[in-house]
Symmetry: C2
Subunit: 488 residues, 2 copies
């Protein structure tokens, strides 16, 4: 489907490729005042999180260097990473993501420019080898930092110091992720994921307002939709624009609210109309997952068939049904459709009938009737639960210690949004101040991909060494703080 | 001294910088026919020793690569190095010399060109990390090999298979060391040492006959002579031409026979006359080391004050006296000088009187009156021992099991030359066939810096991992075989 449109969609995406802004940055501390010998170690601190290319200006002291200098160089997004090691790492995400290099310097003095881009605040340099005849001098370290976020478009918030700190760090997170496209994380995966894009676009709409970048990303996804019109969960832009072979039920559907939200924020009706048939196609494709008699979605045991949150034990059946409804509601806003409206109503009723435990005031999920925070949040956001029922299930899950918890800032965003939707704006503010505030207390310059306040070492990958500490989906506190959502 | 000449000498050296010849080389074996996964390991064999820049053509199989490929790449001059590791290496030569890199590949397919030059036959590639979603394909490996040796100028020797093998490998050694200048070793030190240059120039004169390269190197040394006119043991050409701060008694003096040998081989009288005053200055400077009454050279306990051989326990006093005489004899050939002739005679007599043990027919050295092979060799080469005495001391040392042995091909060259000088040409041939032939038997493609047939792990540096397996001073068998020296 849409085969005759894809070339044009790709052309539009390419035409919107941003010219990156460059900033030259030097370390605020750590440049050693003395010459270094073998086994010395230095930590440069650039004072904030940046994304870009580093150049080291190196010279020598002592005799003319008579052997190559061999350095290990590690780029870290936060201070904790400095002490982490790959020894024994056996997680399922590639070690290749860890930003560490070994380099040899044959001729001194020199300016060594790292060929790769890194996301970091700290640079740890270990001198693996010199000869005894000379010492190494790090004269300077110059970072060419890039972004497609125009900071001149926003002023810092004033007011409560924690709120302003959270906003500043959330904006920095988005700032570092805004490059040629909205990256999920500039350390990892450096890729365009639809779930991340949706939240980035939301925050962008009240901050940097680079609407062309959102439009570019929408067209990138459109251009790589498959022969059935299905939109992949993520895509690659190098060496050529190409879909990842990962498809997730919720991410494909999120193209719909992302398109709608973009059109609302930018006023760009033309793009909305151009991409609407593709957006609506995602609803049709999702229909195959529903039982036409019970109006219930099929469960699946395929890992990641529907993302929702980074919680492996989470049963996704209820959330998937709710997310379909959430996205269908967004579609209705773009184009009235009585048949769709009727379908939504049937699927809402079925969800309540089948999964609502009216004694506990909780929505259950799956054959094992799992109780999770995620299910209550999506019950509210989808409108399955409205009014009293909506408040009741959010209250009930707070009082249910066995409910499966939320593990990502991505899911926490939806929780805070659900609280706002039921009018618990003060509680939403508190959630943001407690959860994101705990990252502030840990010295975050950007917000993390994963954060469990009770276990800083938590990682779904086997070790935090491959975690991303600047992750797009964590940037939404600025949306809450700047959109007026939290105001009573 | 010579301050008004050095700029011009440097200009001449620069004007003779060679245009390197390029050859495109591909592996003869090892390119895997299948895609590679994490922890896979591959050894590419280029079939011979080369010096140059490698490009890997890489692609992927499976899903679109979703994480960087992280590779360890080790360049080895010979097969034994493939199994060596830096773990626990604590020698005094820098680990920085070991030709191993770690690289990350962010985008596939790609052509990755290593920025550094390597000397190698084998390339070991270990896949440190991929993701589980894709496999790495090494499509091709293309080496841009360089040399300033013109192979079209020489034909292979015919005759005895061992002799021809030794000649071929010796020429390959020289070939790999001939780059912008005569390097001592293209793996290590990649530098111009006078002791190596002398033997390279000798072999070059009967092989590639790139006399301009010899001339360039003579002028490079001239240009970096110090304020007293002293020539350093070695020099650097990058980032600017500069003397190393290493001065060795014998290496400074070897400028004289190197200049004379160059003039004889090339017929370039002009260069000889231009540089003769500087050459003679080395004799004058050496005079400070001699006792004017006894005509004996002072001993020294400074490590490396006079090189002779890579044998730390070797006492250098006698050899230093002999090398002065050897070089003074070369000076006489360039310019008659009765006073110098007289001085040579006095120092010869003094050496015999003081160090010759006429009962043992051996020359001793130092306060401890050490017996070494090196002393006998230099007694002969210098002419201190002539006729019967010369044969006698070479015979005597063979029969003296306690004599300190020779440890380098450099010293073995001088032994073979001394044998020729006393007419034992058959024995010289035998030495070459046994010593260099043992390296051939070990599968050498080039001859090593250090070789003890009884202990392949021997290294003066603490581990063979930093040894050079293609070393200029080992190339002289071709001089013996091609100059007619060995013919009765």
């Amino acid at each position: 489907m849409f085969e005759n449109r894809k070339k044009e969609w790709l052309r539009i995406a390419h035409s919107l490729k941003p010219t990156l802004q460059h900033e030259t940055v030097r370390p605020v501390s750590g440049l050693p005042g003395h010459a270094l010998t073998e086994n010395d170690s230095v930590i440069l601190d650039f004072g904030n999180h940046y994304v870009g290319h580093l150049t080291l200006k190196l010279s020598s002291q002592g005799s003319h260097p008579d052997a190559p200098a061999w350095l290990s160089v590690k780029f870290c997004e936060n201070e904790r990473e400095l002490g982490e090691t790959l020894e024994g790492y056996n997680g399922w995400i590639s070690k290749g993501w860890v930003q560490q290099e070994q380099i040899h310097i044959d001729v001194l003095p020199t300016q060594y420019s790292f060929p790769r881009r890194y996301a970091f605040r700290y640079v740890k340099i270990d001198i693996l080898a010199l000869s005894s005849k000379y010492q190494l001098v790090i004269e300077d370290a110059v970072l060419d930092a890039t972004t497609s976020a125009d900071s001149s478009r926003i002023a810092p918030l004033s007011g409560d110091p924690l709120d302003t700190a959270i906003d500043r760090i959330a904006l920095r997170t988005l700032h570092s992720c805004m490059q040629d496209f909205f990256e999920d994380g500039p350390k990892r995966d450096r890729r365009l994921w639809l779930g991340d894009l949706r939240l980035q676009a939301l925050t962008n709409s009240v901050a940097y307002q680079n609407f062309d970048l959102v439009k570019r990303c929408l067209y990138l996804f459109a251009a790589v939709s498959d022969a059935d019109g299905r939109i992949p969960a993520c895509l690659f832009t190098e060496p050529e624009v190409e879909a990842d072979d990962t498809y997730m039920f919720d991410y494909s559907l999120f193209f719909i609210p992302t398109l709608w939200q973009y059109a609302m924020a930018s006023g760009d009706q033309e793009t909305m109309e151009d991409l609407l048939p593709l957006a609506l196609r995602q609803l049709e494709l999702a229909d195959a997952q529903f039982d036409p008699c019970t109006h219930l979605i099929q469960d699946s045991d395929v890992l990641g068939w529907c993302f929702v949150d980074w919680a492996l034990p989470l049963n996704k059946q209820f959330c998937a049904q709710a997310i379909w409804i959430y996205c269908a509601n967004a579609a209705l806003k773009m184009k009235p459709d009585p048949a769709l409206k009727e379908k939504i109503a049937l699927r809402k009723e079925a969800a309540i009938r089948h999964w609502y435990d009216s004694k506990q005031h909780l929505f259950l999920s799956g054959a094992a009737r799992q109780i999770s925070w995620a299910s209550q949040v999506w019950a509210v956001l989808s409108g399955i639960a409205e009014g009293e029922m909506a408040s009741a299930c959010l209250n009930a899950v707070s009082a249910c210690p066995d409910a499966l918890p939320m593990v990502t800032p991505y899911m926490m965003h939806h929780y805070a949004e659900a609280l706002c939707q039921v009018g618990h704006r003060q509680q939403a503010r508190q959630v943001i101040r407690e959860y994101w505030g705990a990252m502030v207390a840990q010295g975050a310059d950007t917000f993390f991909e994963l954060f469990n306040p009770d276990n800083p070492d938590e990682s779904p990958y086997g070790s935090p060494v491959v975690n991303s500490f600047c992750h797009a989906w964590s940037c939404t506190p600025s949306w809450f703080l700047r959109s007026g959502m939290l105001n009573e």
